[in-house]
């Protein structure tokens, strides 16, 4: 039992605890949820120190769970999963805070499911056994389904079912892939599998790699979501309650990116490289398409949802550039997107709680009655569009730089997305916060409350911190990313090519 186990299981304990509380004690339930999620966050901070300066998995627990087939409770984190776990543990208490008043019916179930969601999400990022990974992958699906379906907006049922079925359809193919790997290798253990592939004990031929890659890839691409598999996302994001949208956008989408990076690349390197150009084209299409659709959205939440399609395109592009910069940038961008888009959803949620509308045309001149809210929104918008000194800039820059090393044209097309992001964010800001303030807005628009402040402050600090002191975050990411990239060079001609120039230069 180490720190990581505690971080993983505490939310589940909180879930059980909340179920045990009587449903009338609403305030106690809220406090309990906040307390548990804060405790998890504080505990998870302790993980940071353990992952410095190494690419190997830390805080490993490896116990047998089921004897036959050999399934092990094997968890651990490296520099990539560390930050994703922290992102989850940070956003959960924030999600609890923004739901404090917003959720007024079936409060007990809401917060219980919210903690169950946290359990599932952390599990996805720490699992080192493919089977356990799949279990957590599905476990995280169920609470989100209920969060959207019970506490969402008008078309919530449609959105919830669509969300569930899309993910399920994708993940059953991944399950087939996982079972196939087990039948070939006799283990679900990720590190053992990699070791076997590395040493050549498990050699997948070209066809096997291609098919297995696709099985995993489709599951992850739906979750990312990669264009054209993104159609569930706008529905789910728009219909979910604020906290649900935050967790969906900030953490759940990262499950897909994380899966690509953790499993698709190192386990099926040849196939990943073979498909990379096509995937990069889809990613670029998503970047531009998402941005263009966001530009014309009349609904704020839908607008933010489509920006996710665009931003996540950068992540996929970075991952499939197979460069150190690209991969580091992609991971950095995952975190950035989690923070800035999470913040955007919170702020849109604040507006919705006041005016009970998500339509942009119902707003205008909000900056006059609510200057603090407007400032927070402005900083977040600037971060989201990639202004230097704020977080997204770093990620986007690294991704573009990494991509340019491989294919300069891709980088050019992808950078169109950066320009478009300035267009849609600034235009949104202008229409909502500037101009004349209609009476309907003025009367309903108190400035931010202390609770909203408390929810937003850590995110705003992080936006600046991640935009300026990248050294806090990047070294572990780079180390882990390099180790993953190293794995992708198994049996790939690329390795030879890279070695060549050095030999030549030495000869001279």
């Amino acid at each position: 039992m180490n720190l990581l186990d505690a971080v993983l299981w505490l939310p589940l304990a909180g879930f059980v605890l909340l179920l045990a509380l009587p449903r009338e004690k609403v305030e106690a339930i809220r406090r309990m949820a906040l307390g548990v999620s804060l405790a998890v966050f504080l505990l998870s901070l302790g993980l940071v120190a353990g992952v410095q300066g190494t690419a190997a998995f830390q805080f490993v627990t490896n116990l047998p769970w089921i004897a036959s087939p050999a399934i092990r409770y094997h968890i651990g984190i490296d520099g990539i999963s560390l930050w994703l776990v922290l992102l989850t543990t940070l956003l959960t208490p924030i999600g609890v805070l923004v739901s404090w008043r917003h959720i007024d019916k079936r409060v007990k179930e809401f917060f219980a499911l919210f903690l169950l969601l946290e359990f599932g999400l952390i599990g996805v990022f720490v699992a080192l056994d493919l089977f356990v990974f799949y279990v957590f992958w599905e476990v995280s699906l169920v609470p989100m389904y209920f969060l959207i379906g019970i506490w969402g907006h008008e078309r919530r049922v449609y959105a919830a079912v669509k969300f569930f079925l899309y993910t399920m359809a994708g993940s059953v193919l991944m399950l087939a892939g996982i079972i196939y790997l087990y039948n070939r290798a006799g283990t679900f253990d990720y590190t053992v599998l990699l070791q076997m592939m590395w040493s050549g004990k498990l050699a997948l031929d070209r066809v096997e790699q291609a098919v297995l890659f696709l099985g995993f890839f489709v599951a992850f691409a739906i979750k990312v979501p990669l264009f054209p598999l993104h159609t569930w996302l706008p529905d789910a994001h728009v219909e979910a309650p604020t906290a649900g949208s935050v967790m969906l956008a900030s953490v759940m989408l990262k499950m897909g990116c994380y899966g690509l990076l953790r499993f698709c690349l190192p386990m099926f390197p040849a196939a990943a490289r073979g498909y990379a150009p096509w995937i990069a084209i889809l990613a670029i299409a998503g970047i531009i398409y998402g941005a263009l659709v966001a530009l014309v959205q009349p609904n704020m939440k839908k607008l933010v949802a489509y920006t996710s399609v665009s931003h996540l395109g950068f992540v996929v592009l970075g991952i499939f550039s197979f460069t150190q910069l690209g991969v580091s940038g992609a991971v950095y961008q995952m975190l950035n997107h989690g923070i800035s888009t999470g913040a955007l959803f919170i702020l849109v949620g604040c507006l919705y709680e006041r005016r009970h509308s998500l339509e942009i045309k119902d707003y205008g001149g909000v900056a006059t009655p609510a200057p603090v809210l407007a400032t927070m929104f402005l900083i977040t918008s600037l971060a989201s569009m990639g202004l230097p000194l704020l977080n997204n800039f770093v990620g986007e820059y690294l991704v573009l730089q990494g991509t340019a090393q491989v294919n300069f044209r891709w980088a050019v097309f992808a950078s169109i997305g950066v320009i478009l992001s300035a267009c849609y964010m600034l235009w949104l800001y202008q229409r909502v916060f500037y101009g004349d303030t209609p009476e309907s807005v003025r009367s309903q628009m108190p400035d931010s409350s202390a609770r909203e402040w408390a929810a937003m402050a850590p995110l705003l600090v992080l936006m600046v911190w991640m935009g300026t002191f990248t050294q806090t975050f990047l070294p572990p990411i780079t180390a882990a990313g390099a180790s993953i990239l190293e794995r992708t060079k198994v049996n790939v001609e690329f390795q030879v090519q890279r070695q060549m120039p050095r030999e030549v230069s030495r000869a001279r």
């Binding site: 389904y145 379906g149 359809a169 399950l175």
Partner: protein
């Protein structure tokens, strides 16, 4: 008396103990029935429950006394013990959730429980039979009791229709089975499964392939009907819908599990050597069963009918394990059937409780707001539904996992992919129930819900706990299943 007659030993009688207990208690109940005043009928239910518990103990104890009985007509092995325990537990759960239902319908009587026990005894004989005639007798004991149970509420039109349909079609199917048995006897000169296997496996003694193939096909028809595998599944939705809900729970669990047990035993043991003749049929039937069950369920609005189609689809998954015809496939089928019994009895127990008098509320939409009105009941049902979908960490997920793992090992790649996609389709109709329960405003159908009867509550808790336990600690059952063949 023929000279070769050897009287059965004590150990052999002990191997038949569970069946003897069941038949004895059932007969006793029949005798006590006219002597019991109407308001004390519940006591007969308790008596039968006690009988089942004793039989369960005997069945588990029988595990330490394996071997053949009665000149090799019965065989107590891991496989038999597993299914005996399963059908007896299924019987217990059904007895538990029947009492309140029958009282509500003013139909509680000793006959009901006695018939149930006879049926369980029949199934128990079936699963330990190694001889086609004994197997057939067991099947008939089980089936005939089930026909009567399906029409137990004799004033209900739908129940009568169900019973008539079940009886007529069931008789046809049994006739096919009997033809198959006759042919295989003609072809091999034996009705003993092991003897048949030896004859078929030896190229010198093997009969005309055509003859054995026809026999296999005829037996397949009979068994496929009993497990409601396509294309012989048409009776199931009507019967499941028409029969009283606790009986439906029973029909979907015990008889089906037992039928699968003999299906596996006959085809994998006796007809194993000619597997190339039936593989294609079973493959096609497995796929068809999944597709028919799942796609038909999509369109259902009646909860009982929906669950009926879902149980057809689940038979399809077990058929996939069957198609693998390997040790892993058999184990997977056994595990899945164990989970399946709990999931289905739990689900139908909820229907029995929720329907209220005359089963007025059996539509999916009637469940609206159950999540608000009765959060605990709804949560238990939700666990069962998630298990039916196959979401980890429930037993339903592990069951499917083992089945598709066995299928992939047997190189059934396409069947695996199509089967897994089927599970995604299935998610839709189970989700619809969850949607109605949790995401719809409470309607009048959930307004005056009576409290759960203790028996039904026990059943719901047991089933939900069992599905979760089987999902989190599947090794327990797997080890047990691993002892079978």
């Amino acid at each position: 008396m023929p000279a070769s007659f050897v009287p059965p030993s004590g150990a052999e009688y002990a191997r038949l103990l569970p069946e003897m207990i069941l038949a004895g208690v059932a007969t006793l109940t029949m005798v006590l029935e006219p002597l019991t005043p109407a308001r004390r009928k519940r006591a007969l239910g308790r008596l039968c429950l006690a009988g089942l518990i004793v039989a369960l103990v005997a069945a588990i104890a029988g595990h330490s006394n394996p071997g053949p009985a009665f000149s090799g007509m019965l065989q107590v092995d891991g496989f038999a013990t597993f299914f005996r325990v399963l059908v007896i537990v299924a019987g217990m759960l059904v007895v538990l959730c029947s009492s309140s239902y029958l009282q509500r319908e003013n139909a509680e009587s000793g006959e009901y429980y006695a018939l149930l026990l006879f049926s369980v005894a029949g199934q128990s004989i079936m699963v330990s039979a190694t001889e086609l005639i004994v197997l057939f007798i067991g099947l008939e004991i089980s089936s005939i009791s089930s026909y009567v149970l399906a029409g137990f509420l004799r004033r209900e039109k739908l129940a009568n229709e169900a019973a008539a349909k079940y009886f007529l079609l069931g008789s046809f199917a049994t006739a096919f089975l009997l033809y198959g048995i006759a042919l295989i006897y003609g072809a091999t000169g034996s009705t003993n499964l092991n003897a048949i296997r030896q004859v078929l496996a030896n190229p010198e003694t093997a009969p005309l392939g055509m003859l054995a193939g026809t026999a296999a096909a005829l037996m397949f028809v009979g068994f496929a009907f009993k497990v409601s595998a396509a294309p012989f599944q048409v009776w199931a939705p009507d019967v499941y819908q028409g029969a009283p809900a606790p009986v439906t729970a029973f029909l979907a669990a015990g008889p089906k599990a037992a039928a699968f047990a003999i299906f596996l035993r006959v085809f994998l043991t006796a007809l194993g050597p000619i597997s190339n003749r039936w593989e294609g049929i079973v493959w096609t039937s497995a796929l068809l069963t999944m597709i028919v069950g799942n796609f038909a369920a999509l369109a259902q609005t009646n909860l009982k009918r929906l669950l009926a189609y879902s149980s057809i689809a689940h038979a399809g998954y077990v058929m996939v394990a069957f198609t693998a015809h390997s040790a892993a496939g058999t184990k997977a089928a056994m595990f899945y059937l164990a989970v399946y019994v709990f999931m289905n009895i739990g689900a139908f127990a909820l229907v029995a409780y929720f329907g209220r008098k005359g089963e007025r509320y059996v539509h999916v939409d009637d469940l609206a707001g159950l999540g608000v009105r009765q959060p605990v009941t709804a949560a238990l049902f939700a666990v069962l539904l998630l298990s039916l979908i196959g979401v980890p960490p429930t037993g339903g997920f592990f069951g499917k996992f083992y089945i598709f793992k066995a299928a992939l090992e047997a190189h059934l790649g396409w069947l695996t992919v199509l089967g897994l996609l089927n599970t995604a389709v299935a998610a839709y109709y189970y989700l619809r129930i969850l949607v109605v329960m949790y995401m719809k405003e409470p309607g009048e159908s959930t307004a005056d819900l009576p409290p759960l009867a203790p028996g039904t509550r026990t059943v719901l808790w047991t089933c939900a706990a069992a599905t979760l336990l089987l999902g989190i600690f599947p090794s327990v059952v797997l080890q047990f299943a691993g002892l079978g063949k």
